[in-house]
């Protein structure tokens, strides 16, 4: 692969970022004085059962036996939608890092004063949109360890899910199911552009109401198996084990990830 200058990559990245710009949401509703608060909890399961790490006990739809060793990811731009089309955007912190091995990251007190009322859904961005995915914006652990290399688009991994899978009897391979900014390549293998792979997630059955001074605790659950089963049947033999430089594989992963999240409970 030949080198492109950082500057040219940067401008190409900007070009793609501008192409991906979404239709803006309507203006948020004015914030009333009566507010509550929200705490998000994060959990990880496989088809409804709590994830058991480091154990080759799962089989995906393609028939690959696999185990999960690490799960780390960002969600950002959480929005609480009202039925009338208005919304409240979580703004105190617009990005949150989740690491299954770091208990403190599994609880996110968003810190916002949430206007009382009824909300009919919650959406968020999985990963960080390219416009906000700025290299070096995190300088401290653990977020800094999610850095996505500059030559590959920079910013941070959206997802780092590491594990092992059984390629054949007595053959265990590692896999790095990593998603971030994608690349497009010319026929010679030169990077000629970048792709914003961050995607919107609408949590099903996420309606809730909140009253003044009330704290809502909302659990968001990631089903690991969802990354591997639909709409793309993920086969490590086909999509690959290491996908940071395979935009087609990352695109498939993103399609699968759209329904990987659900509400565990709202208390």
């Amino acid at each position: 692969m030949k080198n492109l200058s950082i500057i040219s990559l940067f401008f190409i990245g900007l070009l793609f970022a501008s192409c991906d710009k979404e239709t803006p949401l309507p203006d948020p509703q004015p914030q009333p004085s009566n507010t509550g608060s929200i705490v998000f909890k994060f959990a990880h399961n496989v088809n409804g059962l709590a994830l058991v790490k480091d154990s080759m006990m799962y089989t995906n739809t393609a028939g690959n036996k696999y185990e999960i060793n690490e799960i780390k990811y960002f969600i950002s731009d959480v929005i609480l939608h009202n039925a009338n089309g208005t919304y409240y955007s979580i703004s105190n912190t617009d990005k949150h890092y989740v690491d299954n091995d770091i208990a403190s990251t599994l609880t996110w007190n968003v810190g916002d004063n949430i206007p009382e009322g009824s909300y009919d859904s919650i959406t968020f961005t999985f990963g960080i949109t390219m416009a906000k995915n700025i290299s070096n914006m995190f300088v401290n652990a653990p977020e800094i360890y999610m850095a996505w290399p500059e030559p590959l688009g920079g910013g941070y991994h959206y997802l780092m899910m590491n594990g092992k899978w059984e390629k054949a009897v007595d053959t265990i391979n590692n896999f790095n199911f990593h998603i971030g900014i994608g690349q497009t390549y010319d026929g010679l293998g030169n990077i000629i552009g970048f792709v914003d792979n961050a995607f919107k997630v609408k949590l099903p059955a996420s309606a809730f109401s909140i009253s003044t001074s009330q704290t809502r605790v909302i659990q968001i659950v990631m089903n690991i198996e969802s990354w591997f089963n639909s709409p793309i049947v993920w086969d490590f033999n086909i999509q690959g084990e290491n996908i940071m430089q395979s935009q087609s594989a990352m695109s498939d992963a993103c399609k699968n990830g759209a329904d990987a999240f659900s509400i565990g409970y709202i208390n």
């Binding site: 401290n140 850095a147 053959t171 896999f175 790095n176």
Partner: protein, 367 residues
């Protein structure tokens, strides 16, 4: 680390040097009525802003200065048969490593692992030593901080093998020191705790951020074609070095089984700390800054050269159930670099050499 044998000659030499040092001028420091002068670490661009400085040992100009003298002072152990100091093994021109592998303490006992370079430790909150034993999460309150590392260095049989009484008495009786302790800690009574605090303060100032690659990032230098190709290998899946050696620190300070072995019987690996089976054979990913100075490599110094290290990752990986999943090419034996690619990667690693660091007057022997 060199072995200092018992001998009459060394005793005489020791006494002679101690005697000679009595008349050395006491370094000048700024003292105010309010106590020592606070020292603010200048954080290089993009470096972590969370600093590993315990609340009970704030950085001060006087504390750092005292720490530097103690670091280099061969009288620190208080033993008449040795002039071993921290600097006996931690050489500035080797990035405060020894450059030869295992160290040997005063009594000739070998260190359990080869040395780690002392670079940018103030930015490391993930634990010191190859297995991260010294960390804030250690249930033993004496195994949590850089000050504790200093304590262990002064007392461990495979290092200075001294004791608190000998150390503090020796320093107390050297005329230049009580006034320095007074300036740094408000009392001219030397304590072992304050000795450790002062040395830890000095070590926290050892920041490397001026390699050729740093200057490249700042627009002050250009990498040549081979170095740029190596940079690309380092930062793409071709070499995939960045997952463990990324960020401006060139380490995550995390622990990985990097496929060097298939049998694990080291009682000081990461598993010894966590008890997690997947940590068998896992060790800290060391910083690659000044890596050309800090061989031999790996925790047991098995690789004498950077070429051997690169060969290991290219075609020498050893499978075991504990290999970290980031070692993605384990079943191919490695990342399979060509000779040219190896040369390019090595060229890039050489750009991490920080000559400013190893020649910084503030880090040098003050005697």
């Amino acid at each position: 680390m060199k072995l200092f044998k018992y001998s009459f000659l060394s005793l005489v030499l020791c006494l002679a040097i101690v005697s000679c040092k009595k008349d050395e001028p006491i370094p000048t420091t700024t003292v105010t009525n309010d106590g020592p002068t606070p020292y603010v670490i200048q954080i290089p661009k993009f470096f972590p802003t969370i600093l590993n400085i315990p609340a009970d040992n704030p950085m001060t100009v006087e504390g750092i200065e005292l720490g530097r003298y103690l670091f280099y002072d061969g009288r620190l152990t208080g033993k008449v048969d040795t002039l071993m100091s921290c600097a006996t093994c931690h050489h500035i021109d080797k990035s405060f490593e020894n450059g030869i592998g295992y160290g040997y303490g005063v009594t000739g006992i070998q260190t359990p692992h080869v040395m780690l370079p002392m670079i940018n430790l103030v930015f490391n909150s993930s634990g010191y030593f190859w297995n991260g034993k010294i960390s804030a999460s250690n249930p033993n309150e004496h195994n949590r901080t850089l000050e504790d590392v200093v304590y262990l260095g002064l007392t461990a049989p495979h290092e200075l093998h001294s004791d608190s009484v000998s150390c503090k008495n020796a320093i107390q009786n050297i005329p230049m020191y009580p006034p320095m302790f007074k300036k740094a800690f408000g009392s001219d009574v030397v304590t072992f705790k304050n000795i450790a605090k002062a040395i830890a303060q000095f070590v926290r100032t050892l920041i490397s951020a001026d390699s050729k690659f740093d200057r490249y990032l700042r627009g002050e230098a250009q990498l040549n074609a081979s170095e740029l190709k190596g940079y690309m290998i380092f930062n793409t899946e071709k070499g995939d070095c960045f997952h463990c050696h990324g960020t401006v620190l060139f380490t995550t300070n995390q622990f990985y089984n990097n496929a060097t072995d298939s049998v694990f019987n080291d009682p000081r690996d990461r598993f010894a700390i966590t008890g997690d089976p997947k940590d068998h054979g896992a060790y800290k990913a060391t910083t690659l800054r000044n890596i050309e100075l800090t061989g031999p490599y790996m925790r047991d110094g098995r690789f004498a050269t950077l070429d051997q290290v690169i060969n290991h990752y290219s075609e020498g990986l050893v499978w075991s159930p504990y290999v970290h999943p980031l070692m993605k090419k384990i079943n191919d034996g490695g990342i399979q670099l060509t000779p040219t690619e190896k040369a390019d990667l090595k060229a890039f690693l050489h750009t991490l050499m920080d000559s400013t660091f190893i020649t910084n007057p503030a880090f040098k022997n003050p005697f």
